[in-house]
Every structure is written in structure tokens, then in C-alpha cells.
Symmetry: C2
Subunit: 318 residues, 2 copies
């Protein structure tokens, strides 16, 4: 099977919303009047972002999910994406599983595959995703202000626990591994919440490298600091009761990575609006701290006592 | 140097035309009213698309050039691009050269780097490029009609000669290698020609895998056939006098790959307009054949006698 047969069999479907899809030199997109186009690219590399033996259907899901998560963090509605794929060889069962997982998530968000590239080489997936957002309404990292509440959606840390187990750093029960592995391999992009937070949140981003490290980007972009209550973040791990070591619990929830939840800020007057956005999008949201004028990130426990910040973020060249 | 320092040092510049550039979850683009956005992705893999010892500045140029070439083939004006980069390690001299070559070409086309991703892994470059084109005016592959002239811009085959020499398949003089290697490593995207051909050409595409193979995509999309005069295509190799073997000359010009010229069609009534577009864009253009109603690709020599088509296109999984 050659390159063009591969594209035709696994990645070409009738064009729906785009003006022109797979098979020409370019795809053509036409954002609606008054809309800006939100664009994000993520590259996934074997051994770095996924294990060689990962289920291809889960990988197809995750490759698009991490990109949709960026759209969610901007409050953009998904429109379309391109896929560039480097494969060691044409493995049809793998391609069938991968495209099934990819396109199922794409369909559930009305996000159309409009183009891309395939080539031979070490396994590498690069997706560029396009969404639309009314001009001036995108959620940015730079809008947090002193006094704003800090929120996180969903759960934190379960994906990291699965990763620690898969790397052999932790011994956990098989059913716990199965449950947490779902969070690692099939993250849920918070697109609906991002849309509901337009006009409500003052800043937002998605959590890919760990809460504290990612949050520091909001703090830098907004030139503010923050205080985080670690008793509230620890409570956000779905399987926290399976973690006896409080240090591991903090490691997973504060610096876990691969959560693909949204972290966002909003002024206290918006608390009812945040609750309404959470309900409208059927996404749990928890308040975990407060933005402060003083730069830096301060951790406290449930009684307000300082907690040392030893939780480094994941660095892709670390 | 970590991921974020790397991005800041080599790939972050002040935002110009985009609404929001490098450093948030998404970049924001706003096409002008009435414009469609043309989008294309290309992935370049070490050992497949370039040699491990390639000059990083040339690689930066080529990585963007092959994407701009797709915009040219659609008649779209470059706006912006994202870069996803997988690197084995942080090599600062390499990054300095790569970003210099990349951004010099970007600047010469007014094309802004607005986002992307960096990670550790086998060397892999994925660029997604964005251009704008008035709605309905993009040059497509599907518009060729029987009787249309077939044209190619610039030169053909010199890049392939360099590749054959670098692979050790051909012995050529050092100065010839130096000259042809420029064509292989620093292709010129035909953006100005593509813009000038709006409303003139009936179909267009860019040549990356070899003239005959690439042309077959226009023929399939347009449901037509073609007759090509190989004496005219052979004349398009800049260094044809250095090639004694007529078979090698045809191989290079008909199935060379890496030319990044435009192949396009236009009805005979547009000959003056094609010449004007070539002059306006300062790009040589040559007529090499004609579109026919009968499907298939027929090669003839300068006297109209049939030439056997033994010139397979490059397949990325061949």
C-alpha cells in the first residue's frame, strides 16, 4: 500500500464544513464573519508522549484530544484539523485502530480532518487544530488579576499515577492501573467548559505538564502571583484513597502532567457564573486558590500553613 | 536550556499581523472579509527528506519553502505558520542556523511564526502554513479541461541530479554538485507566480515528488489525460549539458522530485495572460504539453513519436 492509497483508505472522508478538504495542495477554511481563527499544533513522539505498545485507537484519541484541549483553553469552537504522520511502515491494523480513535473524537466535536501529510520515519504525530472564536473573546493567559479565584476542572493526578506504575516506579493493583490508565491514554478535552467560560473567566490554559508549572505561565503572562491550597488540589485526584503516601499524592496532583484539564481564573463576582458554566458544560470545577499581586507561587495546607514547593513541572528537554 | 527558553530565544518575535502569536494555548488569526484561509502541512524527517549533516540554515529554509510552495500552488498569499519540532537534544548552533534560515524566508514572504511545539525525539519538522485567497479564486487540481495547455515554472531535474550524486549513484564534478545542491536544499517557492495565475490558470499544483507522478493528481482530479513532449521537459534542466545519458536526463526531469516548481494548466486563449503572469512574477514558464480528454499520460519525443513511460514517482512508502 502506497502513500496515496493509505490516505484514501484511512483518512479521506466527504468534506462537510470546509470549502475544500484532503487531496489538494491546501485545504480551504472560511471562518464566519466576525470570527477569529484559533490555531494550535502539538507533536507526539513515541517514547516521549506514549509507549510503543499503546493501543492505536487510544493514541488516535489522545493525539487529537491534546489539541482540542488547547482550543478549549481559548474558548474556541473546533472546526477542523490537519494530521502529519510519520510511520515506520504501513501497518494496516494499526492504521485502522488509530484512524478509528482519531475520527471518533473528531466527529464528537464536529471537527473535520482537512489535510496533512504522511511519510516514512520514526513514529511521530503532528496535529494542527483550527477553531473559531468571536473576535476579542478568546480566553488568554494574560488576564488574571489580583483577587481572582483560581479554578481547575475535573480531576488531577490520576494520569500521573498510571504513568508511574507503567514506568515501574510504583506498584498498584491491576484494576487501579486500568482505571487511571484511561485518564492517561484517553483524556477528555474540556471544549464545552471553555466555550461556557467566554466572558466569565479572566484567564485560562490547559494542563499538560503539571498544575504548578502550567499555572506559572498564567502568572508570568499576567504579571501576578498565586496562593494554592494543597488540601483542595489533593482532593481532586479521583483515586486519592489508593495513594497512601501524601508526598506522592502531591506529586501527582501538583506536578502530574497529562491531566488535560483547564486551569482558569475569574473574579469573585463571577462565582455564580462559573458554577453555571460548569453545570451547562457538565464539567466539575473546583476552586483551589487565589491570585495575588505579589509574584511567585505560594503553597499552603488546609490550615493555611506554608508547604514547600518541590514540584517541578515536566520539561520536554528535562 | 529548557523548552521554554529555547522557544523564547530562537522562535519568539514580536507579533505583527496575527492577533496573538507564540506563547498562549492558541494563536489567533483573522482572515480579511471575503477571504478563505488556505492551510497546508508538511512533515520533514531526517534520512527521508534531508541528510543528517544538512546545513541547518538550508534546512530551515527548505522546511518552510515546501509549505509556501503549497500556498503558491493554490494562489494563496502567505500569512502565518506554526512549527512543531522534535529534536534529539538542544544544540544551540544548530538551532541558531535553523531559525535563521527559517525566519529569513518567512520574512521575505511576510509570513509570521505564530505558534507550535518543541519536544525531544528523533529529528522531525512539521510546519503548517496559512495563507489567504479570495473566496472561490483558489487554484485547484480539478479544473483542467481537454485542450488546455500544460505549463511548468522554472527548471526541472537539477535537484534530483544532486540527490543522485549525494547518494553515490552518480559521479559529478564538485562545482556541478555545488550548483545543483542549491536547488535540492534551497528551493524557491513560486508564491508570486501562483498569485499572478489567479483567474488565469485552470488548475495548478506544486512539484514535490516528480513531474509525471504529481501531474497524475491533476489528471485524476480533473478526469482528463495528457500528452507531454519530453524534448520540452528535458530542455528545462538548468544543467542538462552536464548530463550525457539521455535516460538520466529524462529520469531527472520527469520523475526528479524536490523541484518545488508549479505545474499548471490554462486554455490556449490565456497564453498572453500566462506570459504576463510569468513576467509580473519574474518567473520563467514553459509550455510542455496539452490536456486531452482520453485518460492516461502519453509521452512523445520532439518528433511526436511515443516514448515509453518508465518514470515512477516518488512514493513515501515505496
Amino acid at each position: 500500500m502506497g502513500e496515496f492509497d493509505l490516505i484514501a483508505r484511512y483518512f479521506t472522508r466527504p468534506v462537510r464544513r470546509a470549502a475544500l478538504g484532503v487531496g489538494d495542495d491546501c485545504a480551504l477554511l472560511a471562518p464566519a464573519p466576525g470570527m477569529q481563527l484559533a490555531v494550535s499544533s502539538d507533536m507526539l513522539v513515541e517514547g516521549r508522549h506514549f509507549f510503543a505498545d499503546v493501543d492505536p485507537e487510544a493514541l488516535g484519541h489522545k493525539a487529537l484530544a491534546v489539541n482540542l484541549s488547547d482550543l478549549g483553553a481559548c474558548g474556541a469552537r473546533p472546526l477542523a484539523f490537519t494530521l502529519a504522520l510519520s510511520l515506520p511502515r504501513v501497518d494496516e491494523p494499526w492504521l485502522a485502530g488509530f484512524s478509528r480513535g482519531l475520527l471518533a473524537l473528531a466527529d464528537s466535536h464536529g471537527c473535520e480532518l482537512v489535510g496533512g501529510d504522511t511519510t516514512q520515519g520514526p513514529l511521530n504525530l503532528c496535529i494542527t487544530v483550527f477553531g473559531e472564536v468571536p473576535a476579542g473573546q478568546a480566553l488568554l493567559r494574560s488576564g488574571a488579576r489580583a483577587g481572582d479565584d483560581i479554578y481547575v476542572s475535573g480531576t488531577l493526578g490520576d494520569a500521573r499515577l498510571a504513568l508511574e506504575a507503567l514506568l515501574g516506579h510504583q506498584q498498584i493493583a491491576p484494576d487501579l492501573l486500568a482505571a487511571t490508565r484511561q485518564r492517561l491514554e484517553r483524556p477528555t478535552p474540556r471544549v464545552a467548559l471553555g466555550l461556557a467560560l467566554r466572558g466569565v473567566a479572566s484567564s485560562a490554559m490547559d494542563l499538560s505538564d503539571g498544575l504548578l508549572g502550567d499555572l506559572s505561565h498564567i502568572l508570568q503572562a499576567s504579571r501576578v502571583g498565586a496562593r494554592i491550597d494543597t488540601s483542595l488540589t489533593s482532593a481532586l485526584m479521583a483515586h486519592r484513597n489508593a495513594v497512601a503516601d501524601p508526598e506522592l499524592l502531591r506529586q501527582c496532583t501538583l506536578a502530574g502532567g497529562d491531566d488535560y484539564e483547564l486551569a482558569f481564573t475569574a473574579p469573585p463576582v463571577q462565582r455564580a457564573a462559573v458554577a453555571a458554566a460548569a453545570q451547562a458544560s457538565q464539567t466539575p470545577v473546583a476552586r483551589i486558590g487565589v491570585i495575588e499581586a505579589e509574584p511567585g507561587l505560594r503553597l499552603v495546607d488546609g490550615q493555611g500553613r506554608p508547604v514547600e514547593n518541590r514540584y517541578a513541572s515536566f520539561d520536554h528537554f528535562g
